[in-house]
């Protein structure tokens, strides 16, 4: 009985650790790693190979690499390192280029293939038969068969689960965790705000891999054997089922899911009396796992414990009253002669041979709000996207303060101060308005893995400043009442405001706005326009695509007219109205 209970407890601890790691990767970071189980396997094999004696010692009954006979806890540490290292090559799959579902398929295929290779190649890890007689930790000093050892092992497994939970919560509740969730909700936008997607996703893979590896090490130390049948690709799906059922984006949900699915459901049925032919019960278990996944995704996609809204009040104390709102933007000296901040030379972009933007050369002077107008499909948004780096030009160069940035990825341009907004709604839906704004603040102490690990003490002061800025921003745009609302629940106009505010939170030097006023009340649009002019006076350079000519009349100078992918004319609106070809192309036709 004691053996049964301790076995359940150890399995429970291991499952919780694994589900937490997956919850971090998938639920928080949005990385769909269908190869998850191979990281647990890597840890288990590593722990086994590090703790076993050299394979010659057991008369070649099994063959494997390693056999270092390292003392506890080195095998467990090795397990975590193996899981983490194995994740590194997958950095190639998780950049911006490959669709998320395709990358997930790549990972799934990797899991199947890895299992096949290890199964077929005996010298590496004893192939199909797997490794047996893996020494239990401290077996030289303690008796692994004793009840005390078993209970102790269970306690250690559960303690590790608790430590994992606390550690991942610490990371998730930090500015870094906020960045991860932002990337999960909309990766292209996160990229445009200066988040390095490939690096963040690789961190998630490595962190999740390391924790999964540790779970494998803990497991193999207890059951003392490990073979390919233990880590078929479908085992990853069981863990996904657990996280989905428990609640995606909520670590408590992952714990609950671990208890319900791999532990409760599968362990419970393992002790059912055999019904029907051999293998019937296991087969039906898999069917049930499949039904659970599909059923939950249909009936309760948010899981039993849905992701919790992170209210700001809970995250930090209210900001003290300060004298006047802090400045929104770094003040830069406005030079006497307008300095060209951003310049496009011969910019060209073709889609399947059709030139959407054709040899466009533009220079944007510091402190000016340049308007970009033209009929639909004239290439305005395409030009903006190329300036921001979200779209690669097929020809031409882009210079930022005289330096070529044509090949610079979007996130690095954002870090240098070129930030864009999007024409379509692009708020981070499952982040509150506050979180949307805070996610954009650059160079936060807590917005890195290291900062998150160092904890709230390390980043709290920094965060408070950011919150003050966010509060001032909300105040200025009249959205204070909605600070703790999910951005996805706002009206269309309010979401546009969130986007503009978020872009401003980055303190950009160049702000690229793609139809920022669409759907915004005219009264408010005017106020935004005035605010933008104020920012320009402080040295910001703004490029704005906008259809509402009234807005352009009032705020933009100069205005660039595009048609058919080319620049047709440039000047003040008044001057443009006097030019026949402009009027012809755009104004009245």
């Amino acid at each position: 009985m004691a053996y049964y209970v301790t076995t359940l407890l150890v399995y429970g601890g291991v499952d919780i650790i694994a589900c937490l790691a997956l919850s971090q990767q998938f639920g928080i970071g949005g990385v769909t790693n269908f190869a998850f189980i191979i990281f647990q396997a890597a840890g288990a094999y590593a722990a086994a190979a590090l703790s076993l004696p050299p394979d010659s010692a057991n008369g070649a009954f099994q063959t494997y690499v390693g056999g270092l006979q390292l003392p506890f806890p080195l095998p467990w540490i090795g397990a975590a390192i193996a899981g983490g290292l194995l994740a590194l090559p997958f950095a190639l799959l998780v950049g911006k280029r490959l669709r998320g579902d395709f990358a997930a398929v790549g990972l799934l295929v990797t899991a199947v293939m890895a299992n096949l290779l290890v199964t077929n190649y005996r010298p590496f890890l004893n192939g199909d038969a797997g490794l047996a007689l893996v020494p239990a930790p401290l077996s030289g000093h303690l008796d692994p068969e004793s009840a005390r050892y078993q209970w102790g092992y269970s306690a250690v497994a559960l303690l590790l689960a608790l430590v994992t939970y606390v550690f991942l919560q610490r990371i998730t509740r930090s500015p870094y965790g906020r960045t991860l969730r932002a990337m999960r909700d909309n990766d292209v936008v996160a990229d445009s705000l200066g988040k390095n997607l490939r690096s963040l996703r690789t961190q998630m893979l490595v962190l999740g891999g390391a924790i999964a590896g540790l779970s494998g090490g803990v497991l193999v130390g207890f059951i003392n054997l490990w073979d390919p049948a233990a880590w078929g690709y479908a085992e990853s799906i069981v863990l996904f089922a657990a996280v989905i059922i428990g609640g995606v984006g909520n670590h408590r949900g992952a714990v609950l899911g671990a208890i319900l699915v791999p532990l409760g459901f599968l362990e419970a049925t393992r002790y059912l009396p055999p019904v029907g032919g051999p293998g019937l019960v296991p087969a039906l278990e898999w069917v049930a796992v499949g039904l659970l996944i599909v059923g939950f995704l249909w009936f309760r996609p948010q899981g039993i414990l849905p992701e919790r809204r992170r209210r700001l009040a809970a995250a930090a104390p209210a900001a003290p009253e300060t004298g006047g709102p802090p400045a929104v933007v770094r003040r830069l000296p406005v030079a006497a002669t307008p300095e060209v901040v951003l310049e496009a030379r011969g910019l060209t972009r073709s889609f399947e041979g059709v030139k959407a933007v054709d040899d466009v050369s533009l220079a944007f002077a510091r402190g000016r709000l340049t308007g970009l107008i033209g009929p639909n499909g004239a290439g305005k948004s395409t030009t903006l996207a190329m300036l921001a780096g979200t779209l690669a030009p097929t020809g031409g160069t882009i210079l930022f303060r005289g330096e070529e940035i044509t090949r610079l990825p979007a996130y690095r341009r954002a870090r240098r101060g070129i930030v864009r907004t999007f024409q379509l709604a692009s708020e981070f839906k499952r982040l509150t308005v506050y979180e949307n704004l805070l996610s954009a603040v650059p160079r936060q102490r807590g917005d890195s893995f290291r900062g998150a690990v160092l904890g709230r003490r390390y980043w709290r002061a920094d965060e408070r400043l950011a919150i003050e800025r966010a509060e001032a921003m909300l105040d200025r745009f009249g959205l204070t009442a909605h600070g703790d609302t999910y951005a996805g629940d706002l009206s269309g106009g309010q979401r546009r405001l969130v986007e503009i505010m978020r872009a401003l939170m980055t303190e950009p030097e160049v702000l690229l706005l793609d139809e920022p006023m669409a759907g915004v009340h005219p009264e408010l649009a005017r106020r935004i326009g005035e605010l933008l002019l104020g920012l320009c006076a402080d040295g910001m350079t703004i490029v704005m695509v906008e259809h509402e000519l009234g807005i352009m009349d009032e705020f933009a100078d100069p205005v660039v007219v595009m048609a058919e992918g080319r620049v047709l004319a440039e000047g003040t609106m008044a001057a443009l109205r006097a030019r026949a070809e402009v009027v012809e192309a755009y104004l009245v036709g």
Binding site: T32, F102, V105, V287, I293, V294
Partner: protein
Amino acid sequence: MNIFLASLAFGLVSASVLAIASVGFTLQFAVTNVLNLAFAAVMTASAFVAYFFNARGVDIWVAALAAVGMGAVLSVLLNRFVYSPFQRRGTSPIAIVIVSLGMTLIIEYGTQAIAGPDNVSYRMNQGPTLAAGSFRLTGAEVAIICLSVVLMGAVHVLIRYTRLGKAMRATAANRDLARNSGIRTDRVVAVTWIVTGALCGLAGAVFAMDAGTFGATSTDIFLILILAAVFLGGPGEPYGAMLGALVIGLATEISAAFIVSDYKDVVAFVILLAMMATRPSGLLGAKV
């Protein structure tokens, strides 16, 4: 040289089986927008239906028709009761992939629960062996190659010259415009599930013939080959899938002859990941 010729023969058979599956898979993805990873599971279930009849004395080529029917019916049901409701609700592509994995478990292990865990073989006459030096093919293998070539021709005719096939391409290219042209795209999608499901079922039967023995989870690895062929040619590109199947089929079998046969699928795997990392739209691809 002898080894090469022998493996070339194997490769042609593999490529033929793979082409049927890959073209079905890629066409399904193009028109329905579902990345249906349960495709291989449907293959297995269909292969078992053929086995059911074959074991009761029906000639395997006749029993294969039952597999065709099973593939079509199962695929239509999958769409009707699973994918289509999820799509209508606006579920993300990644969640649909997770759903398709759930369906994989249900179909594969449901098949195992019914058919039992043991591997089975069709009873079939391999027919006279054709040989030119070490290039050898059994009669059944020749039949598989011919069948595949005929089917590829049929798919070509379907998508190039028939009203239905063009409607499938139109739906894949621009579903909204197809509806504005009066095409009932939900019907076109439903018919696509029938056609690609039939290809899937047939692929299951010929896969089982080629493999010799098979079980409920035998197609897990074959799915990698399908995906490799599909991604090599470009997801959603039927001609790309044909080319991809030829390359992958030959590459795996020929490499098997010169490396160790246990690792022949690694070639497909490496090609797949290399394509994903460098050129996700494939060699012929535009639709990504």
